[in-house]
Symmetry: C3
Subunit: 267 residues, 3 copies
Amino acid sequence: MKAKEVIGLLEEVRKTRPLIHNITNTVVTNFTANGLLSMGASPVMANAPEEAAEMAKAANALVLNIGTLNREQVKAMRIAGKAANEKGIPVILDPVGAGATAYRTETALALLEELDVALIRANAGEMAALLGESGNVQGVDASGEADNPKLAKEAARRFEVIAAVTGVEDAVAHQGEVFIVQNGHTLLTKVTGTGCLLSSIAASFLTVQHSAGAVAAALAYYGAAAEIAGSLTTREGPGSFQIELLNALHATQEMDLRHYIRVKQES
Amino acid sequence: MKAKEVIGLLEEVRKTRPLIHNITNTVVTNFTANGLLSMGASPVMANAPEEAAEMAKAANALVLNIGTLNREQVKAMRIAGKAANEKGIPVILDPVGAGATAYRTETALALLEELDVALIRANAGEMAALLGESGNVQGVDASGEADNPKLAKEAARRFEVIAAVTGVEDAVAHQGEVFIVQNGHTLLTKVTGTGCLLSSIAASFLTVQHSAGAVAAALAYYGAAAEIAGSLTTREGPGSFQIELLNALHATQEMDLRHYIRVKQES
Amino acid sequence: MKAKEVIGLLEEVRKTRPLIHNITNTVVTNFTANGLLSMGASPVMANAPEEAAEMAKAANALVLNIGTLNREQVKAMRIAGKAANEKGIPVILDPVGAGATAYRTETALALLEELDVALIRANAGEMAALLGESGNVQGVDASGEADNPKLAKEAARRFEVIAAVTGVEDAVAHQGEVFIVQNGHTLLTKVTGTGCLLSSIAASFLTVQHSAGAVAAALAYYGAAAEIAGSLTTREGPGSFQIELLNALHATQEMDLRHYIRVKQES
């Protein structure tokens, strides 16, 4: 994939300013909203069953993130998900901590069963848990030397979705297509919610083009922004990196991205 | 309005350190608390119906923000609001996303009906929605070229409150008085919760003086801090701006503000 | 206590990367998670009664923070606390705002009654409230010239816990041992959640060694990081300090700490 394609999709996101409805965990609401604003999308959070359907119908994409799930919120996810499916906007599932508790794994699987999900964005441990494989998740962080392309392909086939497994190298799979994204920075693992924000950014790209390529472009843009942020972070400080990442998501222009994007397509 | 009056009210806030009880959305809790601390007020958050009345009675002002409302929280808002009214402390309503869903619009109107609200702080789309006018709200951001003074005057009359409509130019109306505040910075629209924090800062100023002028002073102080923050933000980074805004709310001294404050009073 | 001992415990935390299960308030979730990641521990948040026990059993320590408590969350605290006790991992109580409302004081006391709590970390006003003494809490901030060692000793005896009372000088008491920690920085009072994060950091140290000394070491490390952060913060900006604190928690190396640690042991 050429940097030009990534930039084209990003520019389209910025032009259309899609409204992203996030039903997400209480740890990352602020960072997710700020990241979406920095990129140029419009965030909205709404968790009440009373308004979940109406908000989803006003939105351009819906992100369901189970990072601090509870009964009321899962109820709202179901309602919003059905409304999103009816309207035909993409539904993104971020199964945070799947495998860590049965409640998370079962809720994620139930949502996949009931809803028409466009994209699952997860780390290797979470995706393995959804696939019923040994999902040893230490906290909510990615870990280990998993085979991301294999997991992505299997999830794409099993759940009939675009599947993105992110880690040191990200893999995006859908109907035979597989993209490998080599952008990113180790400090992403030192800031909470960087995966959650990535799911919402991928949602934004999906509003422009419904394809595995658009998700790979979102991952490459985000990883490139992280690299730019990392290069501006002195003494590897996670606090500064978090701020520079928000800056980079906003500032990234065509010139910068051309030097960074590293996406391969497998056959 | 002279910079001197704004500074006098700010100094009084800092001297009295009012306790601001916020029942607010999960996106902005941290930023609101940090902004109030930076200015020199004391924040407290308490959402449980079990303690809402007691906390409101211990506070100097109560802020009700419907940004991620739910049934339990609205119940707590009612209880806290009644306690605040009994004690005679100002109740501030921030109708985040009014017009975006019926649940938000109706809840905001019900709170206005049931409680004695001192101040509504909203953007043009939200205020128009409360007034039953075409409230097209894109996400929770201000937008468009609304007639803020007209909306503020109408809301002030209709709801018998001080009404503040914020945007490129802010308008504050109350019983014939109208203030126009020309302070602010475009980066405020790139950071989530800047409007929510402003509502809590206006609440702090109301604890010192119950008037439209005090609200205009709060808006001018906040807008001036944003201008100072903007001038210290390199490459227009929204991440850095957020941090510089917290710094500026704290650092703003008499000398700085004198150069910034731009408040006009209409007859 | 020698800097060497503090550094030894910190290195052990970083090596073992303990999983800290936080059931905490909505204001500080993000900052707590980022602070734990910066230090080198693994944070997880899980508030639903459905998964509280399973998550606690997967964790190395459990932190219960009542800063925005509600019925469902308190239910989850009880369930998680019992599971943590069964597994034998330390349970840390942060009684945020005890004394401010009866609901908070009573909930904190009930948790102390029902659970085997390893550590209470509180400011003087909160600890006094738990002890039934005049607990005038202005917001959720520490204040006044309380006798921290006396309060810590009394709480340690009464509740049979390690008791840490933090303020200008911190006191940690347990079974006759008393440590006084003189590290810290005034800007800690200008950023929300710095006390909450400290509780979670103390929890991490307790996973390495169950002693008052380990808690004192955690407080000294945190206070030293705050001093380093303060020295890097220009113009006393609370926004910048918050970021520098996260940086310092990560960057603090043996060399730095040696110059900072100030812990005395009373007989």
